[in-house]
Point group: C2
Chain length 380, copies 2
């Protein structure tokens, strides 16, 4: 019996997609202010041409800028405060975040912290004034979807995990999607980020907040990513760097954006919470952690929600969870070792995460432990 | 060969879906101001409980209001100016539009005209200042999708057709979707509005601005509507008023909203332009005109874009355009008579419409004439 529907849809970011879209739409920067802070990593935005396109567009409309290119992988809280201080000291009006999830998430946190004083102990409280700097985001990987979400995920040493700032304020003003910047990504990054996007789409469908709208975006995102998987497996086999055809790059970038729109509505699940431990303690790439863990959560869901699992598998054109695991094994290669002691520690941390409440099937600590055990190699 | 993708996605309206969602979210009105103008028709909003729920919510948060309930079907330009004068004279801060497409579109035009002075000759120019009153919209039919679009469509006597104001300013602030208000709709309204929504979804896929995102929303919207069609045909057969099960009402309302999100991105096609003549001169209901005309445009598109037509038919689970026409015949009953002279006149007017440029297959005036001839009974 279908129950009465209740949900919200909100995603106010203006998304502009296409080759050369930044330069072609430079007027869009004009109303945002007179001075920008470009937030990015040390190298990739310079290599792939994205930073150049942004600075060209800013110059074209007479906007001054400075560059903060110190964002590391899994950015820290102090990195966000440092960037915000720079923004305030230099009186910038808006933020341009360029890169993968790390610079974009850092850029979003900086936009918040530069517009209002939030002491560190309140950073994840969700209680903020209604003030933020406008943000323009330019993804240069096809995974995070951060360009269309209200989340900024930072490394939280106090909690020994990654924690998200979640607030509608953090929806970017504009997101520019130009797949040109993703063309030179190494194969392993292409695969890990694609798995991240796939996980967003699937976890969105496994969320208590899933809706008709988010599910329709999720299904199409899954279809687009799965359509690229044969190319990835082929590239692994050939030990090629996997120069995908440009239209596949576009497809992955669209899919990751749509998956971002999904988690903006539905949020993520225990898969992300568990993965944060593997990233925090073992330095395993974020997208990869989702790929390691997702199959076992699908298996847990299948026990009580077989129809939902079937619907997700059908969107992937797979017959069962085992086939999904085989596919992941092909993409991930040898899995990392994690000891029983570590698993106990990670399981405890996982159970404290906010996303547990978001899961359509709520795992117990014992479930989490088992999922870790089955997802990683372990030396019992 | 796929070409490089170029498109924009923007739909900043906050959509809140569910039974009693207005009362449950009355706080949302608070930041919008101290006084509201409720824009609605003379009767239905009173009958179906929507106006009561809005006023209850406004009172709960201490907001004053007045009611402008003079909106007729296919509202005129002067009706919009009259409402705007009322809004200004009474110093209201925001607009609440309740009803089908007519009151919602009027409400949106009033929100614009109350915030800035636009002489009538510039009303459809698209050149406006960046000022508008906040709008809250409550659809009480499941068809128009106006609650999530940037369009306000008014009867334009000078051009002898309906013309749209199109501006990002017109995206509502909030849309409340509570299917309770649609439960008492007469069968013919349920059918005509469902056909309107179906046409939005399909026309969005036939637009030069169709994108992966809009197509995924369109496909799901089509699926949801088609799932309700057997109930409609059954109700016609039984001459019942077709009290649908509530979850079907919810499904239609979600589908019409998603189809609105589609045309917000992709716009409509020649089907709408042609239909406006049938409404303007023959007083045929808007949704019904789309149902009369859509099949013949699908046939025209099929000649040069067979794959696209097949994809749309597949989303409807239909094998060919003839099956679509049969289905429409079942829903529409006897078609209206239009004379050859009238068809000549309407075809000329149609060719001046903005949406012609939006069509993936651009019809000639002769194509338009033929589509009219085949879509209506005519006394050649």
């Amino acid at each position: 019996m279908p129950t009465s529907i209740t949900y919200k849809y909100y995603m106010p970011t203006r998304v502009i997609v296409g080759k050369n879209c930044i330069i072609a739409n430079s007027d869009i920067f004009k109303p945002l202010g007179k001075k920008a802070l470009i937030v990015t990593g040390a190298q990739s935005a310079k290599r792939n041409g994205s930073e150049k396109d942004v600075t060209t567009a800013l110059k074209a409309v007479g906007i001054d800028y400075l560059v903060y290119d110190k964002i590391m992988s899994n950015p820290t809280i102090s990195c966000a405060y440092e960037g915000a201080k720079l923004a305030k000291d230099n009186k910038v009006d808006f933020i341009v975040g360029i890169g993968g999830g790390s610079p974009m998430d850092a850029g979003k946190a900086i936009a918040l912290l530069a517009a209002q004083d939030i002491p560190e102990e309140n950073l994840f409280s969700g209680q903020y004034e209604n003030k933020v700097m406008p943000m323009v985001l330019v993804p240069t990987t096809a995974g995070t979807g951060s360009e269309v979400t209200q989340y900024s995920i930072l490394t939280n040493d106090k909690a020994q995990t990654k924690t998200s700032i979640a607030a509608d304020l953090l929806f970017p003003t504009v997101a520019f999607l130009d797949a040109t910047y993703t063309e030179d990504l190494p194969l392993v990054t292409t695969i890990n980020t694609a798995i991240d996007a796939l996980s967003h789409a699937i976890e969105g469908m496994l969320s208590v907040r899933a809706s008709t709208i988010s599910d329709s975006l999720a299904s199409e995102s899954i279809r687009l990513i799965m359509d690229c998987v044969p190319d990835m497996l082929q590239a692994i086999k050939l030990e090629a760097e996997g120069r995908f055809r440009p239209e596949k790059r576009e497809q992955l970038l669209e899919a990751s954006c749509m998956a971002g729109m999904v988690i903006a509505q539905a949020g993520t699940t225990v898969v992300h919470s568990m993965g944060y431990s593997l990233t925090y303690f073992k330095d395993i790439d974020h997208g990869r952690t989702n790929g390691l863990l997702l199959g076992e959560y699908l298996r847990l869901v299948e026990k009580t929600q077989p129809n939902l699992t079937r619907r997700i598998l059908k969107a992937m054109d797979l017959s069962d969870v085992d086939s999904f695991q085989e596919l992941m094994n092909g993409l991930l290669g040898r899995r990392e070792e994690v000891s029983s002691e570590e698993i106990s520690q990670y399981s405890k941390i996982t159970m404290r995460a906010k996303n547990i409440a978001n899961c359509i099937v709520k795992p117990t600590e014992e479930d989490v432990r088992e999922m870790f055990e089955r997802s990683c190699m372990n030396d019992v």
